[in-house]
């Protein structure tokens, strides 16, 4: 990989290491990320388009998209609110146990998803600590899509907190002071002054959380109940296809999830680029 190939007229690189870092990055991305993907596409090419289309538009699979997307959307929404609250509290206030709370935020990252799944199912089943409280109120969590959304929210909460937190930390005090000195009440100031600063990170974090939720499997199957058309998630349908030795079918469904996820990630990256450019006057 010669750096000459990428040189634009009139730009010279002051810093060294372009070739080396480009080499490592491209090699790694090719070998670790892209090459294995060929396995997936290799399977896809075994299908004709009509077969492919039939698999991915099967009524039960479509129902699983609905369940997955719906629950992921609810989870992302919960996380947007809850994550924002946590990030705010962690950045803005001092209180006993703050450090502990901060550390707790990474727990869902660190906990194996299967363990999280079993534990959540234990807690929210009708005879679990939480289920015992909620079910008499007519609120069933385990084995409904609420449980799915809950498990998704659990595994993806760090994405929101950890993306919003640094931005909130870097928000200059003067912005608050300026808003207050102009007579704005807390609510108005938060909505009209602070939120606009946080939007990019909140959307990014929520988007990442959503994408993560789409692919989640281990944490969900235990609490989902897996009723056909009602609580079957797409990852589970992939799993079922695998059990049937139907690699092509599994790959076809996986390709749909992958496509949605990648498009979302790309949108997030592009949108973030735009936003940053506006705030920094075209230099971003």
């Amino acid at each position: 990989m010669k750096n000459v190939a990428f040189k634009r007229p009139g730009s010279t690189r002051v810093l060294p290491g372009f070739g080396l870092s480009m080499g490592i990055s491209v090699l790694f991305i090719s070998l670790v990320l892209l090459l294995p993907m060929t396995g997936l596409f290799g399977q896809l090419f075994e299908l004709s388009f009509s077969q492919y289309w039939a698999i991915i538009t099967d009524a039960r699979i479509v129902a699983s998209y609905t369940v997955t997307l719906g629950a992921a959307a609810v989870a992302a929404l919960i996380n947007a609110v809850f994550g924002l609250l946590l990030a705010w509290v962690l950045v803005r206030y001092e209180f006993p146990g703050k450090r502990l709370l901060d550390a707790l935020m990474d727990l869902p990252f660190a906990l194996p998803t299967a363990v999280a799944g079993i534990t959540l199912a234990t807690l929210y089943a009708g005879n679990g600590w939480m289920g015992r409280l909620l079910e008499p109120l007519g609120f069933q969590v385990a084995y409904t899509w609420v449980g799915i959304a809950l498990a998704m929210a659990f595994t993806s909460i760090p994405f929101v907190v950890r993306t919003v937190q640094p931005l909130l930390e870097d928000l200059p005090v003067e912005i608050d002071e300026a808003a207050m000195s102009l007579g704005a009440k807390d609510g108005v100031a938060f909505r009209r002054v602070i939120m606009p600063y946080l939007w990019p990170s909140l959307v990014t974090g929520t988007g990442l959380a959503f994408v993560r939720s789409l692919g989640e499997f281990g944490a969900i199957i235990f609490i989902a109940g897996n009723m056909p058309y009602e609580t079957e998630i797409t990852s589970y349908m992939i799993f079922v296809r695998l059990q049937e030795y139907d690699y092509a079918g599994a790959s076809a469904i996986a390709s749909v999830v992958l496509f949605i996820s990648l498009v979302l990630l790309l949108l997030i990256n592009v949108w973030q680029g735009r936003f940053v450019r506006r705030l920094h006057g075209g230099k971003g």
Binding site: I55, D58, A59, R60, A121, T122, A125, G126, N127, G128, A142, Y143, I221, F222, G225, N226, M227, P228, Y229, Y236, F239, V240, R241, L242, Q243, E244, Y245, D246, G249
Partner: protein, 339 residues
């Protein structure tokens, strides 16, 4: 945990060195090593049988061997072998999963003839686990389609034992309605609608039934419902074996391609033969599997009620056929569950 620091450190060191030896090969040292790939609830079973086999082999051949175990869903295990897991023998709970290996040429085509009883050293059937005192009065398959009964068994698509539950119910209906397809399908539709939770595997279903308190009946292998009852308290649950049910074979085979490569052909053969020995059969019966060895059958006669067992192939034709009609994508199962 009130461990002193040096002790803790030694545990970590021990664990890491164990991991490093793991990278190099086996955790134990033995002359030869046999890998048995098995279904996921057979861990304790083979943990009990393997040492006895190792001792027996040592006695016979003066060679120290080690049997390693790999457990997982039967299909997942077969898939792993297809993709290169170098198991020497398979001890599965699904005939189809061994057949897949045979189709790929890893297992001899006539594997069912290689050992006695369709290459199935032990068998079981589908039975019911109900709550104490059998409050819903469950006795037979037609009790399961009552409106007030809710069932727990895993998804037949992902779990072998649930496939047997489905087939057993179908077999019952076939007899009951004398082959009237409409009535059979209606029966099956109700049967499936009564399921409260479809877990991915037997373990999940058990958890739902026992720990979450969901459903009135748990359907599983007779061996497993008995194990569960022993595990979770004989007083709280009862095992009901219906008068008619399906014969569930536990097929075994030598994965010849791998065994040859590993130089384990003799060992693999002997291992499977050993499962037919009286000692092994006694162990198996102890784990609530039905066996063929007559001495052992007599010893355990009280534990296994005599019922009518029908053979899957007799009712449904070949396994390939029935997988295609019932469990394939858009097969009968999917149609029955369609809304």
């Amino acid at each position: 945990m009130s461990l002193s620091y040096p002790f803790r450190r030694s545990v970590v060191a021990l664990a890491i060195s164990a991991g490093l030896t793991g990278l190099a090969g086996n955790a134990m040292a033995a002359d030869r090593e046999l890998l048995n790939s098995s279904y996921d609830i057979a861990r304790e079973l083979f943990a009990a049988i393997n040492p006895e086999f190792q001792a027996w082999w040592q006695e016979q051949h003066d060679e120290e061997v080690e049997v390693s175990q790999s457990h997982g869903g039967s299909s997942a295990q077969a898939r792993a072998i297809l993709q290169g897991l170098r198991a020497d023998v398979v001890t599965f709970n699904q005939v189809t999963d061994v057949q897949v290996l045979a189709d790929a040429g890893l297992v001899a085509e006539d594997w069912q003839q290689a050992f006695d009883n369709n290459a199935s050293p032990y068998y079981s059937t589908t039975a019911f686990l109900v709550r104490k005192g059998n409050p819903k009065g469950i006795e037979n398959w037609d009790d399961l389609v009552r409106e007030d009964v809710s069932l727990v068994f895993p998804n037949p698509k992902t779990s072998g034992n649930a496939r047997y539950s489905y087939l057993a119910a179908w077999g019952f209906a076939e007899r009951e309605f004398d082959g009237d397809e409409e009535q059979i399908e209606e029966f099956m539709r109700t049967f499936l609608r009564n399921v409260a939770v479809f877990d991915t595997g037997g373990r999940g279903a058990t958890t739902s039934f026992i720990e979450r308190g969901i459903g009135d009946v748990l359907l599983s292998f007779e061996s497993e419902v008995n194990n569960i009852r022993q595990e979770y308290g004989s007083d709280d649950y009862e095992v009901i074996v219906p008068p008619m049910s399906v014969l569930a074979e536990f097929p075994v085979a030598v994965v010849e391609a791998n065994a040859e490569r590993n130089g384990n052909s003799d060992l693999a053969e002997a291992y499977i033969e050993y499962l037919y020995s009286e000692d092994a059969q006694r162990q198996l019966a102890g784990f609530n599997y039905r066996v063929y060895d007559e001495t052992v059958v007599e010893e355990f006669a009280d534990d296994f009620p005599e019922i009518e067992l029908f053979n899957v192939e007799d009712v449904f034709g070949s396994w390939d056929e029935l997988m295609e009609t019932h469990f394939a994508n858009n097969g009968m199962l999917d149609q029955l569950q369609r809304r």
